[in-house]
């Protein structure tokens, strides 16, 4: 399959304008004849549904939570990037483009990255117009902070609840359209299959999670804005319901899946404390602006943190990366933590953590200043751990957090299936092999507010004369039956192990072999283990209840069934990439001092995988990356 990214002509700065100039439009009178399904109500989904509703299309919006406002975008704490240069510290669209491309280890498309930086300017304006209460200085102007991996302050924030406030802005815009009848809302509905008619995405099959009913919905285009699949590791910073099912089922209907193994492991989450643990709470990366990360210089240290003298502390990030210190990018910080923990210097009861220490910052800036900056994070830390971080250092450890991988999309955010678009974390675009902090709220928002409204209209202009798509089409019936069949199968197994058992076991395999560090033998082993686990799942899983009523175990079972397939593809992806780049660190490919060793001559491409059917191995397609403006350099944060 030839992958055409459809990058517009012209110089980097003009590509997006050139696209917009030529994009086909749909006349307002015709928009009423066109239906669009949007799955997901996070920043990406709410913003595109609201935008399309405003434009006059008929929109249906779906989410599995009981309200669109609860999509996991709500949990983002730290902030959102924009190259406004309000701080006059030399920032610009170009610099943001450079930082993002470099942060992603030159495994993203130049044109996409540049467009994201360009649209970042509008996003802040848009959010302020909606009433998002971003942090402000005393003069009344917007304030910024700096985030990992960059040397300017371009991060806008709303206390430690930036995602919540941005999402509420988008949710309110969406609810305004719901009130006007332009968007129909289907909360507590989970997409279980994509319907493809004559090679085009034409609808979805969903289950009403409150009463178990299976429904068919047809449209001229389908947008998946279903978020990330990092929850595949079980322990992660994601919400319990986050899943890969929507994109995976689309993948099985023909959409290619790009670089699925690129998962960001965040350096500052709370460590696991026991087997019962269901999630790892993120402590915002913004804490690294003032917190210093260290471990004792002595392995198996038993003294309390505050009693360990300065010269027996190893501030390993400051030591290894003097230019960036505690603000080194996430992949590097997480790996450095893992290196220390594996070497026996980890702290805490399970020896699985490192310290994040505010003593110096509190001494220099005062308790009140630190409280003002991070008060809610310190409160959250105390609620979860019972420890006062103003007095003792926090304990943090790496945790699965963000999926750079996702459905392959072209410049227009369309997948390889015509009419199927993927937005936000659900697609692979823009972040390359490692995402910079505060860039993904941005990406999800610009995809939905500024990019997809043009590109979807461009696509829909070809459907003006198509007429309504009927849910009576045999493809709908076929997909409907298949969904019912697979749910029935899950309930019918009636084995002896719970769904969570399989999810936790899969998560452990992936953390061990396809996590922060990977190697060929481990990945091969993991593939075998996952296959065995999957076989066992279909023999021994126990899903109680029935199909035709509320049944959260059944929901979980469907998601885990998909994870058991996605996990295998992640391992294949990691195995075929014989280099280290960004979050993908292959132990065989590292420099003498343990830094990632990229291989541009052979691996300067995006892997795009095709589903081979239940038998056979996934088929690899490559989108070669070319760099016209910025030549790949070795990432150095030293």
């Amino acid at each position: 399959m030839k992958l055409d990214a459809k990058i517009p002509a012209g110089s980097l700065e003009h590509k997006w304008d050139n696209f917009k100039k030529k994009a086909k439009l749909v006349n307002p009178a015709n928009r009423k004849k066109l239906d669009v399904i949007v799955v997901g109500t996070g920043l990406a989904g709410s913003s595109i549904a609201a935008s399309l509703g405003e434009m006059g299309y008929n929109v249906k919006s779906f989410c599995f939570q009981d309200s669109p406002r609860r999509a996991h975008s709500v949990a983002a704490q730290g902030g959102v990037n924009a190259a406004k240069n309000y701080k006059n510290d030399g920032d610009s669209v170009y610099r943001m483009f450079v930082d993002t491309l470099k942060g992603g280890d030159f495994r993203a498309r130049e044109a996409n990255v540049y467009r994201m930086a360009e649209c970042s300017l509008n996003l802040i304006d848009q959010a302020v117009a909606q009433g998002v209460p971003f942090g402000r200085e005393y003069g009344g102007y917007l304030n910024n902070r700096s985030f990992g991996g960059v040397q300017v302050s371009r991060t806008f924030y709303a206390r430690g609840q930036t995602g919540q406030q941005l999402l509420l802005g988008a949710y309110q815009a969406l609810m305004r359209q719901v009130g006007k009848g332009a968007v129909q809302l289907f909360a507590r509905h989970e997409m279980l299959d994509l319907v493809v008619i004559d090679g085009k995405a034409r609808g979805i099959i969903v289950r009403n999670l409150d009463n178990g009913e299976i429904e068919r919905h047809a449209a001229h285009a389908v947008v998946l804005a279903t978020g990330g699949y990092g929850k595949i590791y079980y322990l992660s910073t994601l919400a319990m319901g986050c899943n890969g099912s929507a994109i995976w089922r689309a993948h099985k209907k023909g959409a290619l899946m790009a670089s699925p193994s690129w998962i960001q492991i965040h350096p500052t989450s709370l460590p696991q404390s026991g087997d019962y643990q269901s999630k790892l709470t993120l402590m915002s990366e913004s804490l690294r602006n003032d917190g210093r990360i260290w471990v004792p210089t002595k392995a198996d240290e038993t003294r309390e943190a505050n009693t360990i003298p300065e010269d027996e502390r190893d501030y390993y990030l400051e030591r290894r990366y003097p230019a960036f210190g505690n603000l080194a990018p996430r992949d590097i910080s997480s790996r450095a933590a893992k290196e220390r923990i594996d070497a026996g210097f980890g702290i805490g009861p399970l020896k699985n953590a490192v310290y994040l220490d505010f003593a110096k910052a509190i001494k220099e800036q005062g308790h009140d200043k630190i409280k003002e900056k991070y008060g809610n994070l310190f409160d959250m830390y105390r609620k979860i751990t019972g420890v006062d971080a103003y007095k003792e250092p926090m304990m943090i450890s790496p945790s699965a957090h963000f999926s750079m991988g996702g459905l392959w999309v072209d410049y227009e955010l369309m997948t390889t299936l015509p009419g199927l678009f993927a937005l936000g974390e659900a697609n692979f675009a823009d972040h390359g092999a490692n995402r910079l902090g505060a860039n993904s709220l941005l990406q999800a928002s610009v995809d939905g507010y500024f990019i997809a409204p043009y590109t979807i209209a461009n696509y829909l202009s070809g459907d003006i004369h198509t007429g309504k798509i009927s849910t009576d089409h045999p493809e709908f019936a076929r997909a409907h039956e298949a969904v019912e069949g697979s749910l029935q199968q899950l309930i019918g197994i009636n084995g002896s192990k719970t769904v969570d058992y399989y999810h936790k076991t899969l998560g452990k395999i992936l953390y061990d072999y396809c996590g922060l560090a990977r190697h060929a033998a481990g990945l091969e082993l993991a593939i075998q283990e996952i296959r065995k686990l999957r076989e066992d799942f279909y023999k021994n899983v126990k899903v109680p209840g029935n199909l035709s009523s509320m049944n959260s175990e059944l929901e979980k079972a469907g998601r885990v069934a998909d994870y058991l397939e996605i996990g295998e593809l992640m391992c294949f992806d990691a195995l075929t990439r014989n280099e280290s780049c960004g979050a993908h660190f292959r132990e065989e490919y590292q420099t003498e001092d343990g830094e990632a060793l990229r291989n541009d001559s052979e691996y300067q491409f995006i892997s795009a995988w095709e589903w081979p059917g239940m038998q056979g191995e996934p088929i690899l397609h490559k989108e070669e990356l070319t760099f016209e403006v910025l030549q790949p350099i070795v990432r150095s944060y030293k």
Partner: protein
């Protein structure tokens, strides 16, 4: 530690519910309350019983999806804390805990501990927004807003839409939730333009749902995980009366 649970079980909206006793032993005090519920469900499933349905998602206190009455208190004993952020260390060994859904006429029980809070979404869609279309907006710095005003607006905007205020209120009033959104928007210059229609529409929608009237018991503020102040309600009443008088 050991806990004796009395959990509300109800098959669906129209069935009668009842409290059912369960005992769990060997619990770790560092477990979160919802992880304890996971443990209970694991046991039930393996015993061939149906697990308890309860609402949750982020498990970090921000999505507003979780919520139970724990010993009669919305979100349990800790102040400004959601159910998901509660840990077993807040309970005594061998304690008996009553676990019930957020009850209110406007929040019908769907099953076990899950309730229907869609009335909140309808209140927002009646006016809880700034009517600005997406795509174009003036430069953010063309509109300076004082630090203090932003912070005040933020205090109201922080509401997570959990419904604890309604569940706690003896009248089942949604005044705290509704007023928080009204004040978030009316405090900011962006939201001033529509202040009249907004407050009238949102209050009318609130009344059209099955919520009760606020009689200023102030119980809601105490249970609100985000510490939303009851002053918002006073201000909403002021806005409402003002709008009725000045409406053209």
């Amino acid at each position: 530690m050991k806990l004796n649970l009395k959990v509300w079980r109800q098959k669906d909206r129209n069935s009668q519910g009842q409290l059912v006793d369960y005992t769990l032993d060997h619990l770790n005090p560092h477990m979160s309350f919802l992880e304890m519920m996971d443990t209970l469900n694991e046991t039930l499933i393996l015993n061939g019983e149906e697990p308890v349905e309860f609402d949750h998602d982020c498990r970090e206190g921000i999505c507003g999806q979780c919520g139970m009455m724990i010993n009669g208190i919305a979100h349990g004993p800790l102040e400004n804390t959601t159910t998901c952020q509660l840990h077993l260390r807040s309970f005594q060994d061998n304690e008996t805990i009553f676990i019930e859904p957020f009850r209110s006429a406007a929040f019908p029980v769907k099953r076990d501990l899950r309730v229907d809070r869609s009335a909140f979404d309808r209140i927002i869609s009646s006016g809880g927004f700034v009517s600005t279309n997406t795509g174009q907006a003036p430069d953010a710095h063309s509109l300076p807003i004082s630090h203090q005003l932003t912070e005040e607006a933020f205090d109201a905007a922080a509401c997570i839409g959990c419904g604890a205020c309604v569940a706690t209120c003896k009248n089942g009033s949604a005044a705290l939730f509704t007023s928080a959104k009204i004040n978030h928007l009316v405090l900011l210059p962006q939201g001033k333009e529509e202040r009249q229609e907004r407050v009238i529409n949102m209050v009318q929608q609130m009344d059209a749902e099955a919520f009760g009237h606020c009689s200023n018991t102030e119980a809601c503020e105490v249970e609100c995980p985000q510490g939303i102040s009851v002053l918002n309600i006073a201000r909403m009443n002021y806005e409402y009366n003002r709008a009725l008088i000045t409406r053209k």
